[in-house]
Symmetry: D4
Subunit: 226 residues, 8 copies
Amino acid sequence: MYIIVVGAGQIGSQVLDLATASDNEVVVVEQDPEVAEEASREYDCLVIEGDATDREILEDAGAEQADAIICTTDEDATNLMVLFIAKELEISSLVTVVQDPQHLNIFRRVGATILENPQRLIAQYLYQAIQRPSVEDFMELGGDAEIFEVTVTENAAIAGKTLSEAGSESLLGEDVLVVALQRGEEIVTPRGSTRIEAGDTVTVFAREGMTDDLVELFVGEQEVAE
Amino acid sequence: MYIIVVGAGQIGSQVLDLATASDNEVVVVEQDPEVAEEASREYDCLVIEGDATDREILEDAGAEQADAIICTTDEDATNLMVLFIAKELEISSLVTVVQDPQHLNIFRRVGATILENPQRLIAQYLYQAIQRPSVEDFMELGGDAEIFEVTVTENAAIAGKTLSEAGSESLLGEDVLVVALQRGEEIVTPRGSTRIEAGDTVTVFAREGMTDDLVELFVGEQEVAE
Amino acid sequence: MYIIVVGAGQIGSQVLDLATASDNEVVVVEQDPEVAEEASREYDCLVIEGDATDREILEDAGAEQADAIICTTDEDATNLMVLFIAKELEISSLVTVVQDPQHLNIFRRVGATILENPQRLIAQYLYQAIQRPSVEDFMELGGDAEIFEVTVTENAAIAGKTLSEAGSESLLGEDVLVVALQRGEEIVTPRGSTRIEAGDTVTVFAREGMTDDLVELFVGEQEVAE
Amino acid sequence: MYIIVVGAGQIGSQVLDLATASDNEVVVVEQDPEVAEEASREYDCLVIEGDATDREILEDAGAEQADAIICTTDEDATNLMVLFIAKELEISSLVTVVQDPQHLNIFRRVGATILENPQRLIAQYLYQAIQRPSVEDFMELGGDAEIFEVTVTENAAIAGKTLSEAGSESLLGEDVLVVALQRGEEIVTPRGSTRIEAGDTVTVFAREGMTDDLVELFVGEQEVAE
Amino acid sequence: MYIIVVGAGQIGSQVLDLATASDNEVVVVEQDPEVAEEASREYDCLVIEGDATDREILEDAGAEQADAIICTTDEDATNLMVLFIAKELEISSLVTVVQDPQHLNIFRRVGATILENPQRLIAQYLYQAIQRPSVEDFMELGGDAEIFEVTVTENAAIAGKTLSEAGSESLLGEDVLVVALQRGEEIVTPRGSTRIEAGDTVTVFAREGMTDDLVELFVGEQEVAE
Amino acid sequence: MYIIVVGAGQIGSQVLDLATASDNEVVVVEQDPEVAEEASREYDCLVIEGDATDREILEDAGAEQADAIICTTDEDATNLMVLFIAKELEISSLVTVVQDPQHLNIFRRVGATILENPQRLIAQYLYQAIQRPSVEDFMELGGDAEIFEVTVTENAAIAGKTLSEAGSESLLGEDVLVVALQRGEEIVTPRGSTRIEAGDTVTVFAREGMTDDLVELFVGEQEVAE
Amino acid sequence: MYIIVVGAGQIGSQVLDLATASDNEVVVVEQDPEVAEEASREYDCLVIEGDATDREILEDAGAEQADAIICTTDEDATNLMVLFIAKELEISSLVTVVQDPQHLNIFRRVGATILENPQRLIAQYLYQAIQRPSVEDFMELGGDAEIFEVTVTENAAIAGKTLSEAGSESLLGEDVLVVALQRGEEIVTPRGSTRIEAGDTVTVFAREGMTDDLVELFVGEQEVAE
Amino acid sequence: MYIIVVGAGQIGSQVLDLATASDNEVVVVEQDPEVAEEASREYDCLVIEGDATDREILEDAGAEQADAIICTTDEDATNLMVLFIAKELEISSLVTVVQDPQHLNIFRRVGATILENPQRLIAQYLYQAIQRPSVEDFMELGGDAEIFEVTVTENAAIAGKTLSEAGSESLLGEDVLVVALQRGEEIVTPRGSTRIEAGDTVTVFAREGMTDDLVELFVGEQEVAE
């Protein structure tokens, strides 16, 4: 793919790192000379120092053959203008971060794929880390449903039981599904006869979300501040 | 919970937004007077303007009764020093972002829960948006296993089939599990008889990760740039 | 009218001066505190210090009752974002300056009335002043047609002749029309019998534009640098 | 012509663009090194970095052979000093912008052609765009007289009528003259038999200025905010 | 007298010190807020913070009743503009420093009393101090004529002689005149019989200027570097 | 002479101009790189960029062979330190400006020749220019005695009279002496028979200082503001 | 004592901390407003914001009753000027840091007690810490003589021996004297019968300085990098 | 030894001066380009411009072969992070300054040799200089014990007496020991028969610290401010 990245700041440079690792042709447009120079030193990509809201700069960046553009600046107005020009130049895949939620509709009208307020994404992880320290990763689905990952402890109620046992003892209800189970390096597809052991990392689907009781089932009673 | 947040920048202020929304007591320590003042205006929390590596500042922030501290500055050295003092002050839950992967071991030694390079997390989402535009969310498990969310299209091979049919036609192998299915507002726990329809948003566990073929099964053949 | 002016810089403050002179309600949004304060001191209008790309700021400025918005910042990206929000807020009259001609189509799509590159407008006047120093004002029409204003000199060929005489002597062709004539304070509507005299300021329509010969007819031969 | 431009800022650079497009020899004097360098890159002219109030700098700029000097800085005091030196160096055509109207007399005493407060010129266009959105261009003559350009709408009273009919129906009085009429690409010199049609762009001389009634005659009744 | 001083910098503040010591009404106009404030604290005068090239500022400073204006800024362009406005406001006595000698004619045309390049005046005193360390003060007249002040030393040829003796011994020629003689606190008007003694401070008029020989006559032979 | 100048600012550069004009070897020490570079471009002297309070810098400047050092910086503390080092390095002639009169004793103890507060010198000239506009130059002697220079006007009481006549008519008292008289380019040594004519520039010694009456004798009654 | 401290920077503020802890009256003069304000907040002393080279500032600081002045700025020139004024004001005890060793003589001439280049003092401690890590503190006397402090290790040759034994075994020569010995909290005055034990901290006078062999006697053979 | 110095500021550069004087291999890491460049010019060592908290920078500095690292920055957090990385890289000797005493425990845990708040060390010397001006150097031992150095004055009670006499006259108690005595260039090991003379510099161990009486014994009664 031919990808144009707009902005080589903290987020932009990580995108460069990912995009240049695969077999893409990558061009980055960055206005700040020092930041541009550092990007040039660090990543195997073409760096264009300039203002991406200047149509000629985008053309220099090869907009005509680009498959995708990713806007990473923290100025919504800049990202918006760039996306408009990118659309005129017929770049098919438009991706952007959006800082201010009230600007979402405007960006949607351009047809861009949006990552709303990336800082919030990070904040959720940090906040989760103190709220449910035992949960290692999680993903929100529609409604209240969530998928989460925990490592089973010795004093967990479920430790040492098969999934069938856990079901018949009403430890696991209908709305909960153990999706995957990692033991050491191996990923096990769980069946009724699979026995959950302390130290297993389990991935759990919870239709009603990860409640305290549900998490406790896997990690035992935790000392938690109120 | 009594939570101390260090830094009220882009990430820190989002943490404040989350933490003050629930029933927590929240104190933020921020060195930059302007940033501190803005935090004070925006969030319902105590704002202390000062350097969190100064033990007295942390004490003023109520470290003695704090349950958790979240370090959000982009200076690893600052976060490290703060965590050390926090540990001396016996704050039990220590959470931090870490910019430089080479510092991870040092932070682990302090016993902190770490969110490594948050900007990379964002970059992954952005990059994924152009690589697999149909994938709406995803989570990496151990090994190659991944869970992902897509919306089924009309020309998807699986559209109109029950999960049993999909299994018997070898569309879905052993290593793939449809974990959940959202139709309109409703979350359906999928069974063999559940019929996948165009417009459903499905959550899929893939033991070998989301390959092009697997994604195509749900969203049909996409015109993709090489 | 209720008018929101965005930007109180050199152009914005002149707009404020004009708009507050008539019976309008005027609000200006300006990000720079010092500029905002000066506007507040100078003009009889409400001054809101803030970023007009923030929807709440525009709402504070009374966007819901505003009849018109005039964007005067020299950042096209800012003006574009503001116009989009203004449109969402259903302000009916959208006016803006546009710096970069390549952005014109994007602005047109928003439905704004555009004043393209205002600095060029000024430059034309300055350049005209040395190219045709005798021309006092001018306006470009479609094609090559122009209207211009000159003051007739004593040694002009037309001085002392009636318009009829000038026509019959082939001084004035079909494509030229003396539209108006100012003598002292009085504006005369010219007829065939009107005699052009030295000192008269005449407004001339020239279908083929103001050629050297045509201008010379009214101001005599000028010493001009090559 | 040999032209010296003082200042290569926003206005100055537009003057450079115009002056270098024709067959002139152009020199620009600019004090700010970065602005000077950019002018040097953009325009085909000699750029002298320095203070134009330094007589030697003006001499280096070729003042002795210059036909004209155009001062575009936004410091009246600088422009004044430059004009005085230019006069001593016997540059015949002196042109300048003047910011502060109270300085006009002083500049007139030097004998310069003056463009008073250029930002106001722009503001007038912007303000006119919301006051009379149907008027596309205009020029002020002596007294109240104005010339303006509008495009005739379908529901205009004059649409479909010849100029004679309009006169005999008292739609057009003595003080109004349709000077020119553009239909498609063609400019028509209007006569009594010329029929005004919707879509025509007409140039109108109005001895008493463009009143609401007069404009309405050509564009019909407009929904206008009060 | 009513005096307006423009600029309260190093020179301006000394002028304020002198002017406020006598029975004058003094107003100073200074643009820099800090400098203005300091002037306000130090001197018994009205301080107006603002740009003196703004006519209204000068009017606020009481230009209409002012007898004199003294421009002390180190920007010739500023001083020039101020003097022009001062002239329009009919201040009768116009005084200014001028930095660049090439601007002298322009300032003379305004009718100002000029102190050309004051830094040079100082430099002359400093340089004189090493060239002729024994000369305590001096003044240049027309041609080569100079007046200077020295203190007579013991080994001076003239020490112990009356002026008559000095004349008859051809020590003092026709072109030299001892104008005054200070002995202790007393000023003596010298006559032929006045005896010059070591320690006297004499003021000498020298038609051909102060030559080494002449100075040596009063101070003896000095050890001087070449 | 071998002269070291400390500081190449406004005063220092004028000293350089004077010192390099004669046949001296001149070295200047200047800390500010830009100022140093400009001095290097303008004057025919060695420029050392550095801090003159650093003994090695002074040695590099050739302190061992220097006859004189002139300190022109506006920091008394810097000048003092430099003079101390210069004395250690046995430079025989030490000259300096001193800003703060309260530091005079300290500088005198070093044995330096002092030009106290040079800005005051300038201020005196400026102030004199409005107090006695007819006085062209002046010099203060001991006591109240002054020497001054004026140009005789037509309506002066003394115009047309010989010095003898002026004496016998009691126009000139004992305490006043016409020291010199310039007529055109010629300097005349005045005698009793010398006739003062309008247009003559006379140099006058006044034992009691230049009173209004005395000045009026030479320039007639002037219209003077009170 | 009444003490004036000049400069409230890193060193100055530590002096304030010490001086205000005892029963002194302390005044500090600091030019930087922020630093002054912080000193005012932290220490119980009078803080005067201003330039200590201004005699009036020193007088305001109570120079007339002051017993001592301590100059802590890192500008030698400033410290010198302050000391001169302090001497004029008859402050009896003058103390200062001196940065540049070449300025020592000048400061000595003022009669000040000097702490030469304090940063070097620190550097010596740091460097010593890697050169002889076992030496805990040290003091240089005249010649090569040094006093140092080490803690005796188990494998030291002297451990377990009385001083007499150590002497008779020629472990301790004539030129070495164990001055003091700390065991636990107690300081023991060592005599011949005093037995040195591992864990004792001994203070040793070494006439020829602390050689490797001597140090090794007390701390055993250390693994040392070359 | 192979030594890495972190920071080339005031303290760091002094360490460089010491470390490069002996036969060490020295590398300095400094973030500020200008400071780095100056270090490079002044000292014979490798200078690496960069952030020492970046592990790769420390590796570039040769951490693998380094025997010691000395942290001299004034940011405790930076020093801490560097020490942690240095420990991971197995540098055996870790030395650092610590600004904030409350951070001492944290640094001790890393196992670093610490120089606590170096500015305080300097302050103690300065303060001592006014408290006991006669004490030339001193060292604090455990408890109240101190060693100090004074020069004996003529009117000291001990002057002219042998140590035995001083002991028997109860001038010197048990708790006081004259450790060394410098007469001219020579260091004398004092015995009972050694006679103390005015002008000798004596080093004294005082178990109870240097009291006024004890110091007075050696320097006589001093005039001291209260």
